[in-house]
Amino acid sequence: MYQYDVIDREFLTDRSNEFRHQVARRLAGDLTEDQFKPLRLMNGLYLQLHAYMLRVAIPYGALNSRQARRLAWVARTYDKNYGHMTTRQNIQFNWIKLRDAPDILDALAEVDLHAIQTSGNCIRNTTADPYAGATAEEVDDPRVWSEVIRQWSTLHPEFSFLPRKFKIAITGALTDRAAVKVHDIGLILRKGRDGEIGFEVIVGGGQGRTPYVGPTIKSYLPADRLLSYIEAVLRVYNRHGRRDNIYKARIKILVAALGAEEFGRQVEEEWGKISAERADLPPAELARIRAAFAQTNFETLPAVSESFEAARAASPALQRFVRNNVKPHKQPGYAIVEVSLKAIGQTPGDATAEQLDVIADLAERYSLDDLRVTHAQNLVLPHVKLDDLAAVHAALDAAQLATANIDLASDIIACPGLDYCALANARAIPIAQDIAKKFADPDRAEKVGELKIKISGCINACGHHHVAHIGILGVDKKGEEFYQLSLGGSGAEDASIGKILGPGLSADKVAPAIDSLVDRYLSIRTGEERFLDTYRRVGLEPFKEAVYAQAD
């Protein structure tokens, strides 16, 4: 993991001092709310329905146990004893007071945490594959490059007042667990013909009102030119992105308006004027960052663990957990363990302070002090020895963290929605809970298999409903909460935007509709088809009929 040095720590201190000063000016009336708002947003502080919400950055989703414990402490001390994981690998606290925010930032800075640029019209948290450093699938560790971008983009003086927010995601594997194709910049690490490392650069993906799968603007960018190229993209965007209409201000609108080819040409032209020596990262600094992520403390273990096999044979619960939540690790004798924050009937993505403490202990003891947040609002213990799997499972189970439903129908992504968010049109959490209860029977959930259901309470799409196998969008129809279903979206490497199924449904009809869709899928699927595959084979009609054919 990247270790903050004196420079990084002094930076956090200076930042929280700055914010404390800005809050004081606001409270004294020396700043208007209009002048203060971007300043607090650039420190992750939103004014939501019931209180302020603080979004703490978890760069590329990576935490150590000390940080996880501090987050638990913040939840206990300043909030209502829980935190919420987001679709950008951050954590949110829903019940924060403005007067406490400077103290909270100080407390976070003590463990190298912050809320820098988790909101605002600036470059946000650069997310990455949560399996980075653990999966055999990657050609290079995306965390290295996320950290490079994180530092470069922090308080970038030219790009802190962009037309709109800017989100970057990186995957080191072709299996895309970071939804790179629906980001402002998506980066796919690739090996060049010469065996060197480079990036496929996708620009102009996004969701919201106008969803796009982003086009590839540059099929191969040598890795050592990353920062200068991104600078060129940002500069073209800063100069030419629309500022007249916030719904048309993302870079995806500019790319669509110019066309990918012309946009790419403008970027190349700008890039050609940027000095590599001034703009790109010196090799020594890259090597320093890379070294921080090199994992040197794996034990040499056999690929098969006798004790694990015995434990597994004796426990159907452990078998189910392993089937759904445990993934192969590049190092023999190790595994990647997903921790579901989607217990049936619970608020998706929430963890109590006690649960965070349990996970911190498990990370420290069993996962080389490494913990990740996924964009599906779950957690990952990336480096668990097979020998320890049974113990980890038992500890998770005792803390209601062992729901064996990763990527199943009850593993629902849901934004906080109208229960918390000032932007929402409808609630998302109760809908998610109702649907999850339909799949509470784990046998049924496994029989259905992979089914990614995602719910957004408004068109801003924080719940990623556009890239869901079944997407659900909350709308306000004549003063009632209605929900529009869409099918066939994917945020993975086979990215696609979902298609609307039909007219919106009232809240009480959503979970039954999901049931109908699943029943229809089960009746027509062939072979090993996932729901998404069946939809892609047969189209919308059979599913539309399943939901709407009955009267009322």
């Binding site: 420079i7 200076d14 308080l155 003086p157 500022r243």
Partner: protein
Amino acid sequence: MPKLIKLVGAPSDTSFGADWAEDVFIHVADEDPIPEGDVILSLARFQAEGEILLSNSRRVGVRIEPDQEVEALAYDLPRLSVVALAFPKYRDGRAYTSARLLRERLGFTGEIRAVGDVLQEQAGFMVRCGFDAFEPNDDATPEAWVKAAHRFRHVYQRAADNRQVAFEERAV
């Protein structure tokens, strides 16, 4: 005459200061006659009438709006005293790019002035991008401006101020 704050010393030197300055330049609206003395004109006006003024040995400045390309001044920069970059709203970040291009790409050594909705909370960003003069739109004093610009002991990326970057500090 709006108040004017000017930097004292080089921005790469972290002990730079700022002071009130007497603003001898007059902002001339497009529809007004050009008075005697030093003037700041819009880009269009400068392109039409700037040559004559410069040959009269006046000091001339040009005001660039956010949607105007600062590269249009490339050939005239050696003879310009001031480029004023407008912030219609402080949230419009295009002037930051214009300032950097002026300093780093076009080699402008004259005064880059921030005009419009210019607030002290953005002092740090402005100085880093190459602004060295500011017409504040809030109650900023030069002291407040300098304090705001000096908030961060370290920076992570190169910019027009040529401050030493974090990775350069680490290399020492």
